[in-house]
């Protein structure tokens, strides 16, 4: 495990030094045109660092190309779904659980989190459908908040393992089997599933998010998972060891409760992995502001996790490294907005120097990475919707929305913290 990690780091470092050497010439060419500090900040933020991170990720994923198979298990498992005003979506996620091809018993625990719509009635409809191997229980949590609902559910779990599923996520028919095989065989404290977008064709924004999930998020999870350090076992679909979560006292009442929980598990020396063959189809925001607000929350959640458990407090070398990389993401977002975008505009006005050839090469690495990821996901033989236009639109505008929203999220995190100190 360590050898392959080191190999990929060396590969990334080689790329870094190659591009650094190249950028010495580049920087000299623009040195008397623009301030030096700005030039180096932009070069490192749009070419050197992304090049390093992406090439080591790419190489590591290549080294871990072969998917691990685990023996089939049939231990009992609880699936925990929390719903707040989800009357339209909840039925199909419950149905997807009941229809799972899982060889063991599933205890479905649905928590109604202070819903004011027909969610409760929708859940009740399914109670008669439970049979010997698939039982349904419902709980009510009057305090609004995901972490409260999850903790309410946690208190009623009787199995050794449980799976959290969002009320707007539909599991693929083998998802529970795959994720259970993984967690039982590896004894990870948590296993993140692979999320695909369900409502791909709803709007332009769902189309571009499809590729973010399929190519970027999955690539990062696979990379981190290879070293048992997946930083986010997302609430939307992940499996956990009940005992480990209970020891931590469940979820904390924060914006990114799933991020903080994963960080805490790893802080206790437990491992966090990723199972690409366990697929859940999730409903993503279909409007610009829906997407914007979600990414804002994620960014804030990431900082919450990082500030509660800073990288140096992580016992595992790998987790330390990945958490540290996450700190760099803030800088990358800033240099994307204030370096890359002005550079592209300058290039369009006839001054291509700041954008540079190296950035172009880095973009090529990025496309290569996406392509390899696409092949990998295709190999799983689990269907996803795909369109060339969507991919192009993803390449062209996703990062701008993402960086903008993330920056907003970082800002609210810092403002919020300031408020707490007063």
């Amino acid at each position: 495990m360590k050898t392959r990690f080191m190999l990929s780091l060396i590969f990334g470092a080689l790329w870094f030094f190659f591009s650094f050497y190249f950028s010495l010439f580049w920087a000299r060419e623009i040195a008397c045109l623009l301030p030096k500090a700005y030039i180096w900040w932009v070069i490192s933020g749009i070419a050197l660092l992304p090049g390093f991170f992406m090439s080591s990720l790419f190489f590591s994923n290549l080294l871990h190309w072969k998917k691990k198979e685990y023996p089939t298990t049939s231990v009992p498992v609880t699936v925990l779904i929390c719903a707040h005003n989800e009357e339209t979506m909840i039925s199909q996620s419950i149905q997807a659980i009941l229809l799972q091809h899982y060889s063991g018993p599933i205890d479905l625990l649905v928590v109604d989190n202070a819903s004011s719509d027909q969610t409760k009635q929708e859940i009740q409809k399914w109670i008669p459908c439970s049979f010997s191997n698939r039982s349904i229980r419902t709980l009510y949590c009057p305090v609004l908040g995901k972490s409260h609902a999850l903790n309410t559910g946690l208190a009623h779990i009787t199995t050794k393992y449980f799976i959290t599923v969002d009320s707007d996520t539909c599991l693929e028919k083998n998802a529970v089997q795959k994720i259970m095989n993984h967690i039982v065989a590896t004894q990870s404290s948590c296993v993140a599933g692979n999320l695909f977008v369900q409502n791909t064709t709803d709007s332009f924004f769902t189309k571009i998010q499809t590729y973010d999930y399929l190519l970027s998020i999955a690539a990062v999870k696979r990379y981190q998972g290879s070293y048992r350090s997946t930083l986010v076992a997302q609430g939307a679909f992940s499996a956990f060891q009940t005992q480990a979560v209970r020891k931590l006292g469940g979820w904390k009442p924060v914006m990114g409760e799933d991020i903080v929980l994963t960080y805490q598990l790893m802080q206790h020396g437990l491992s966090s992995t990723y199972e690409p063959a366990a697929v859940g189809y999730t409903q993503v925001p279909d409007t610009f502001f829906g997407l914007y607000n979600q990414r804002k929350r994620w960014a804030r959640g990431m900082l919450e996790g990082l500030s509660l458990i800073p990288p140096w407090k992580q016992p595992s070398f790998f987790t330390k490294y990945f958490a540290l990389v996450n700190c760099f993401v803030i800088d990358l977002d800033l240099s994307f907005l204030f370096g890359f975008i002005p550079a592209i505009l300058l290039a369009l006005s006839g001054f291509p120097l700041l954008a540079g050839i190296l950035t172009l090469i880095t973009l090529l690495v990025c496309v290569l990475l996406f392509y390899s990821m696409f092949l990998y996901q295709k190999k799983l033989n689990i269907p996803f919707k795909n369109s060339f236009f969507g991919f192009l639109a993803f390449l062209l505008c996703f990062q701008t929305i993402q960086s903008m929203a993330a920056l907003h999220g970082y800002l609210t995190f810092f403002l919020h913290r300031k408020g707490e100190w007063k």
Partner: protein, 238 residues
């Protein structure tokens, strides 16, 4: 919430735009410099500084900065092959009041070429310069390595311009030895040759120009040199 988002997005977009405009303005400003003014007193000593083998992406710009700061006009004998990618450098050169002349397209030894090839070396470069600077017309030509023969002379329809004092910077010695070489030998009505393709030349000129000014030299371009200088032995005019 929504208004706050719109506000934030507007704020970031405007900041992006502002950064872009500041960068664009500073880049544009270089292309619209007021030309270097030089009034020549024919009674006083004068020298022409010339640069060969450019434009160079790394070194021509800092050189232009230095010349502009010192208000020294110069003549650049450019190589056609080096132009692509450095268009803005040439625009800035012309705007600053320097002279741009031709030093061949691919820097060959012209004495080994056929007349047709020699002509090509000239017009291909001139054509490239004209796409960047529409009013451009070459007035002088400097053959690579200073090598020419009768055939070259007859084929090139422009006066050939050589030099009288070689700085020796083509050999890439230390700046201090280039400086010594020039300062010991320089005389009134010298044509100095440098190459704007290395950092030592710039270092040399940083020290040399103020020193030459102190000694009372005026700096001229090749065309005003021809107008004012009494000795034109280095020029082969047909």
């Amino acid at each position: 919430m929504k208004y706050r988002n719109i506000g934030f997005i507007l704020f970031i977009s405007l900041s992006c735009l502002l950064i872009y405009l500041i960068l664009l303005f500073s880049l544009q400003a270089r292309l619209h410099r007021t030309p270097i003014q030089s009034e020549i007193d024919p009674q006083q000593p004068m020298i022409a500084i010339t640069f060969d083998d450019g434009p160079n992406a790394s070194y021509t710009l800092p050189l232009l900065d230095l010349l502009y700061k010192e208000q020294v006009p110069a003549t650049f004998f450019v190589v056609g092959e080096a132009i692509s990618g450095n268009e803005n450098i040439l625009r800035e050169m012309a705007a600053s009041g320097h002279e741009i002349e031709i030093h061949s397209f691919s820097h060959p030894d012209l004495t080994t070429l056929a007349p047709q090839q020699i002509r090509e070396e000239l017009w291909k470069t001139e054509e490239r310069l004209q796409t960047i600077l529409p009013d451009y017309h070459a007035r002088y030509f400097r053959p690579p390595y200073g090598k020419y023969n009768q055939q070259v002379q007859q084929t090139i329809p422009l006066p050939l311009v050589l030099w009288t004092l070689d700085s020796g910077d083509w050999d890439h010695p230390q700046a201090s030895s280039i400086y010594d070489q020039v300062i010991q030998q320089v005389q009134n009505q010298d044509i100095l040759i440098f190459h704007d393709d290395n950092p030592e030349t710039i270092k040399t000129l940083k020290k040399l120009i103020p020193e030459l000014k102190k000694e009372g030299f005026q700096f001229v371009t090749i065309s005003s040199f021809l107008e004012h200088a009494s000795s034109a032995s280095v020029l082969l005019i047909k």
